[in-house]
């Protein structure tokens, strides 16, 4: 359907961010419950608080351009969430903003590149590797799937493939032994629990598939 030059403007990015906020609100209890099993029982409430602050900023009149909007989202998350998730999600959106350029819109390849830059920012900040049982385990397969499917003319399908890969990556964290963050202190006892960070990260990619395609 959409051709590779279709523009993703600030209104589209805003729809994505609002959809992610809605998904976080809807899954707040689930995220906190997962975090209570292998972390400190606050991932849902922290991320929900952050996304509420992001929405308040959007309601106050979003800034022009995708980059400004992504930057505002990242700064708001850094300032309002705290913990590792605030620094990591904040860094994700800030890095996306840094790659998105200053134009009124980015094309689909530009969005995929910005998404990858955001994920690389998470790696730089959190020093996670694949299989550490973190949000990276959902995001890495998602950006790989997106890039692999970008060649065609079906951006919707590519985003759906990314969301499916994120969900599969999220599910695959269950048998893993945590090696980063508070869950790592559990050692063997972290096995058998789905990672809360990978779970919220999968919501982020699913929201993109629902709104950007």
């Amino acid at each position: 359907m959409a051709d590779g030059t279709a523009t993703i403007d600030a209104a589209v990015i805003e729809r994505w961010i609002r959809a992610f906020a809605a998904a976080v609100a809807e899954n707040e209890e689930l995220l906190t419950r997962l975090d209570s099993a292998i972390g400190d029982a606050d991932h849902g409430s922290n991320l929900a608080r952050g996304m509420k602050a992001v929405l308040a900023k959007l309601d106050g009149g979003p800034p022009g351009g995708p980059a400004a909007l992504l930057k505002q989202t990242g700064m708001t998350l850094v300032s309002s969430v705290g913990g590792a998730s605030g620094a990591l999600y904040g860094t994700f959106f800030l890095r996306m903003a840094g790659t998105a350029g200053t134009a009124d819109g980015i094309d689909q390849a530009g969005f995929a590149a910005a998404l990858r830059a955001g994920v690389e920012g998470i790696v730089a900040r959190g020093k996670a590797e694949a299989g550490d049982k973190t949000m990276y385990d959902a995001l890495a397969p998602a950006v790989d799937a997106l890039d692999a499917a970008m060649g065609g003319d079906d951006f919707s399908g590519a985003l759906r493939a990314a969301a499916d890969a994120a969900a599969a990556g999220r599910d695959a964290t269950t048998p893993l032994l945590a090696r980063k963050g508070r869950a790592s202190y559990l050692g063997e006892r972290s096995v058998g629990h789905q990672d809360p960070g990978a779970t919220s990260a999968a919501l982020l990619v699913a929201a993109a598939a629902d709104t950007l395609g």
């Binding site: 209570s36 850094v78 980063k180």
Partner: protein, 333 residues
């Protein structure tokens, strides 16, 4: 869940209102959730800032005052403060001699203080040095985890580095003393019960009535193992064995022995634990030079305790004994 709160979302803000009302010698920036000395910035003195999630009181706000911290940044319950708070605190207390950030080794704390230090360097030119505490011997395989956690030794670092700054040490020497305290300190904790994060509303983990968790962290994150409940004598052995195995505490100028309450344990029991700890130390040929007993780095209402040992020397003894006046620790002034 029964707690003395109003709304879970207002806990930190309302506790800060209480701190401001109870301690007129301190100032509170309610917007940034910073507690700081009324006389800040102290000209020419290295300023000390710490911070972390709320729920560990008196750490950190209870240690703000002459001889200890200049400012403390309060995060949400069990959630690190954000870079904006740390930046604002750094600007508030910098007296021209630089600022030391004391950070417990938890992923979120380290990342947020790191972002704050990067921003401070880029924007204000204030010289910032960070010292990360990581004294918890319960964490094994540090290479495959986020590393040892910063726990009990953080209290001792804040006191001793605070005294060094008050004596006029420059930033590099204050940081050096702080690192030396961290390097010579080891801790191990245990829980009798879980804590309940107010926003979650139910206990963080299930611990049956007849079991205890050995090696617990200060957020209810589990430790090395779960064992049947045991008398204080045996619990003390379980905590002391890994500490004494990790570092040689014999000789020198003795140790500071610190038995800390996790929030829900009466002092009566902490003194029983201290007696057991002192007995084990005597048997192990370790001399006790100083002691500290009480709830100083807590985990909400968790019942349990931790033991911290710190190798002392002449300089650390002098700095430990130096006057301090904070809500949580006060002597000599």
């Amino acid at each position: 869940m029964k707690k003395l709160i109003n709304e879970p979302a207002d806990i930190v803000a309302e506790a800060l209102l209480g701190i401001a009302a109870a301690h007129p010698e301190l100032r509170v920036d309610h917007e940034n959730k910073i507690v700081y000395r009324a006389d800040a910035p102290v000209r020419g003195k290295v300023a000390l800032i710490s911070g972390g999630g709320s729920g560990h009181e008196p750490l950190h706000a209870g240690f703000v005052g002459p001889g200890m911290l200049d400012a403390a940044c309060a995060g949400e319950v069990f959630t690190s403060p954000v870079p904006d708070q740390v930046m604002a605190a750094t600007r508030l207390v910098d007296g021209g001699a630089g600022v030391l950030h004391i950070v417990k080794n938890y992923t979120g704390d380290v990342m947020n203080f790191e972002m704050a230090a990067e921003l401070a360097a880029a924007e204000s030119g204030v010289e910032v040095v960070s010292v990360v505490t990581d004294d918890d011997v319960a964490v094994q395989d540090s290479l495959y985890t986020a590393g040892r956690r910063g726990v009990g030794v953080t209290v001792l670092v804040e006191k001793i580095a605070g005294a060094a700054a008050t004596e006029g040490y420059d930033l590099a020497r204050v940081a050096d003393v702080a690192r030396r305290v961290n390097a010579g300190g080891r801790s191990m904790g245990m829980a009798l019960t879980s804590c309940t994060v107010p926003a979650a509303g139910h206990p963080t983990f299930d611990l049956p009535d007849d079991e205890i968790e050995i090696g617990i962290g200060i957020h209810g994150e589990p430790g090395r193992r779960r064992v049947p409940a045991a008398p204080a004598r045996e619990v003390a052995e379980m905590l002391m064995e890994p500490i004494l195995a990790d570092l040689d505490f014999t000789g020198g100028d003795g140790v500071l022995a610190f038995v800390n309450g996790m929030g829900g344990t009466p002092l009566l029991e902490l003194y029983i634990m201290y007696n057991e700890v002192a007995t084990i130390l005597a048997k192990s040929g370790v001399t006790v030079a100083r002691s500290l007993v009480g709830p100083f780095i807590t985990s909400l209402e968790m019942a349990g305790c931790s033991v911290t040992l710190l190798k002392m020397d002449e300089e650390l003894l002098r700095l430990w004994d130096a006057p301090v006046r904070t809500p949580g620790l006060r002597w000599g002034m």
